[in-house]
């Protein structure tokens, strides 16, 4: 395919698999936390806000290292996972998913939170006066009106997952076919003499993926925005 070697295809599909898993598993908790931060006041709100955003400001290697000491097969949490699921997540693609979720979470939460905050609370009040339960208010008013932000957040998070490097390589290492995602494979190529053209191709693939993701996000979030405003786009 497009003259790509099996090594490159493997890296690309692994990257897509890990990023999709990360975005899918992060979406619901992300929306839930964004809603809590946007709409509720509770003790410890600042702490949760801080914890969500930490991966954005500390070196990714630190995040990866913390994950490694928490989830390695001999740590209590790692052992717990082995007991429940039969296998741990360190040095496996599942670990890479976890690292991606954590690294992309702040971008997702931030974007969703902003769009929930922008939803007119007056509409939520109106919905309540019409007899709607909290559940119905959320699913018929708050959530649909936040869709543009959710799309943007999802795509940003997806792009962040595709580019994830530091936490991943620290936590799950660089194992071809298991954890060697695009950036990791590219890194390996740059360290190997005589692979410049392969490295260049992976570079182009990364750029293309990112562009498609951003353009797609723009398109869908505009379309969703127009739908919400009622323009027949």
């Amino acid at each position: 395919m497009f003259g790509l070697s099996s090594y490159e295809i493997e890296a690309l599909s692994l990257s897509l698999k890990i990023s999709i898993w990360a975005v899918v598993s992060g979406l619901i908790p992300g929306i839930a936390i964004a809603y809590l931060l946007a709409r509720k006041n509770f003790p410890g709100k600042l702490l949760i806000d801080g914890l969500v955003h930490i991966p954005l400001v500390i070196p990714p290697v630190v995040t990866g290292y913390v994950l490694l000491i928490t989830f390695n097969d001999n740590a209590p949490a790692g052992k717990f996972l082995i007991d429940i699921f039969g296998s741990g997540i360190a040095f496996s693609w599942k670990g890479a998913v976890l690292a991606s979720v954590i690294m992309s979470f702040p971008l997702l939460v931030r974007s969703v939170r902003l769009s929930i905050e922008a939803v007119d609370r007056g509409l939520e009040e109106a919905s309540k006066t019409l007899g709607a339960s909290w559940f119905r208010v959320f699913f018929t008013i708050t959530l649909p009106l936040s869709i543009p932000g959710i799309i943007t957040g999802t795509v940003l998070a997806f792009a962040r997952c595709l580019g994830e490097f530091g936490a991943t390589i620290t936590f799950v290492s660089n194992i071809p076919g298991e954890t060697s995602t695009l950036p990791l494979a590219l890194y390996t190529l740059t360290q190997t003499p005589g692979t410049e053209s392969a490295a260049f191709r992976l570079c182009l693939i990364s750029i293309a993926l990112a562009l498609v993701a951003i353009a797609g996000s723009e398109y869908f979030s505009r379309k969703a925005g127009a739908r919400l405003r009622g323009d027949n786009a």
Binding site: T129, L130, G230
Partner: protein, 358 residues
């Protein structure tokens, strides 16, 4: 019946109000912005919580701080019509209308959309509606939940005066038809006169006065709060046939019978008489073109701020007149004097009438 009594402390504002609103009656909360009107209906709807108080509709307690009862908004069965409509922008008009629709029968749905004249708007999105259409849809949406009471927060204030005149009859018809307590927040005297049965005058978070619209608006003490520059008398009136009544205004059961072609015979009207337009005579005048002369008794006289004399005359209902102090001494008018008041029929029916809901 809707009963409201509540106190709520804010940092620089204290709301302390109570009133009662009967079934099929419109109680208008009237006051300047910031006087606490909207807070009150938000408390009735459960969107705000009083510090202390009791709110009940009929037998049903919605809030009672002593018994620790606070029914959540969605269970209060309120019909709330917001100032800005608050239609859901991502839904069609029909989805908006059906959002809280509890009746299983489609006849009710049909009936209400016909009453409000919104049959042709169902497919549209709210942003494609005019201001008046939006408010009619908002009214329909609230009515379709079969509410126990209606709360209207300045529903006409975002509209221009032509749209207002267009919407007032809709609201009137609706109140007449659905016979529930209606609390109507407004700062417009026109709306108060056109739609209110009772008025609660609000200022700085407290009720200054409450009573029938006629009483509250006619009371000279309320002039400033109502934004009136002179004294007025607001009287109940009924349109009568011009020919049968030979064009003469009469007073029957405390209501002025007004011969007019402008309104159908039997239409309930409310007449606002400016006190400067009322002429007083101590003898029954003859040979006047004004044919409406009503006998009454002076019950109160007082100096107005600009030096004239404000006179309250009981003709079966209270009417206010303002005349100069020279005229008072020339005519020897004093408390208890028998006088005749002269009203010009034409003047009355042309400029001072407002239809109240029929």
């Amino acid at each position: 019946m809707l009963e409201f009594r509540a106190i709520k402390e804010h940092t620089n504002f204290r709301l302390d109000a109570s009133f009662v609103c009967n079934k099929g009656m419109v109680t208008a909360l009237f006051g300047k912005s910031g006087s606490g009107k909207t807070s009150i209906i938000n408390m009735i709807a459960g969107l705000q919580k009083p510090d202390v108080g009791r709110i009940a509709v009929g037998e049903r307690l919605l809030f009672d701080s002593y018994q620790n009862i606070n029914i959540p908004t969605q269970k209060r069965n309120a019909g709330y019509i917001f100032q800005d409509g608050r239609l859901f922008p991502h839904m069609s008009v029909e989805s908006n209308l059906r959002y809280g629709f509890k009746g299983q029968k489609n006849e009710m749905f049909q009936e209400i959309i016909e009453l409000l004249g919104i049959e042709d708007l169902l497919e549209r999105r709210p942003h494609k509606l005019s201001g008046g259409e939006k408010q009619r849809v908002a009214i329909g949406r609230a009515l379709l939940t079969s509410p126990d009471f209606l709360l209207m927060d300045e529903p006409l204030s975002a509209l221009d005066s032509a749209r207002k005149q267009e919407l007032i009859p809709f609201i009137g018809r609706m109140v007449e038809k659905f016979k529930m307590p209606v609390v109507y927040v407004t700062h417009s005297l026109d709306e108060l006169l056109a739609l209110g049965d009772n008025a609660v005058l609000m200022s700085n978070g407290s009720c200054i006065e409450s009573g029938s619209v006629e009483e509250v608006v006619s009371n000279p003490a309320n002039m400033e709060h109502l934004g009136l520059t002179g004294r007025v008398s607001v009287l109940k009136a009924v349109a009568v046939d011009q020919h049968n009544s030979s064009g003469i205004i009469s007073l029957v059961d405390g209501k002025l019978m007004i011969p007019t072609r402008q309104y159908k015979t039997g239409t309930k009207l409310r007449v606002t008489l400016r006190s400067e337009d009322v002429t007083i005579s101590i003898k029954k005048p003859e040979g006047l073109s004004a044919r409406n002369i009503i006998k009454g008794k002076v019950t109160k006289m007082e100096q107005t701020t600009d030096g004239a004399i404000g006179i309250k005359i009981d003709i079966g209902v209270n009417v206010y007149a303002t005349i100069t102090s020279e005229a008072v001494s020339d005519l020897h008018i004093e408390n208890g004097s028998e006088v005749f008041i002269i009203l010009k029929t034409v003047a009355l029916s042309r400029r001072s009438t407002a239809t109240i809901r029929q």
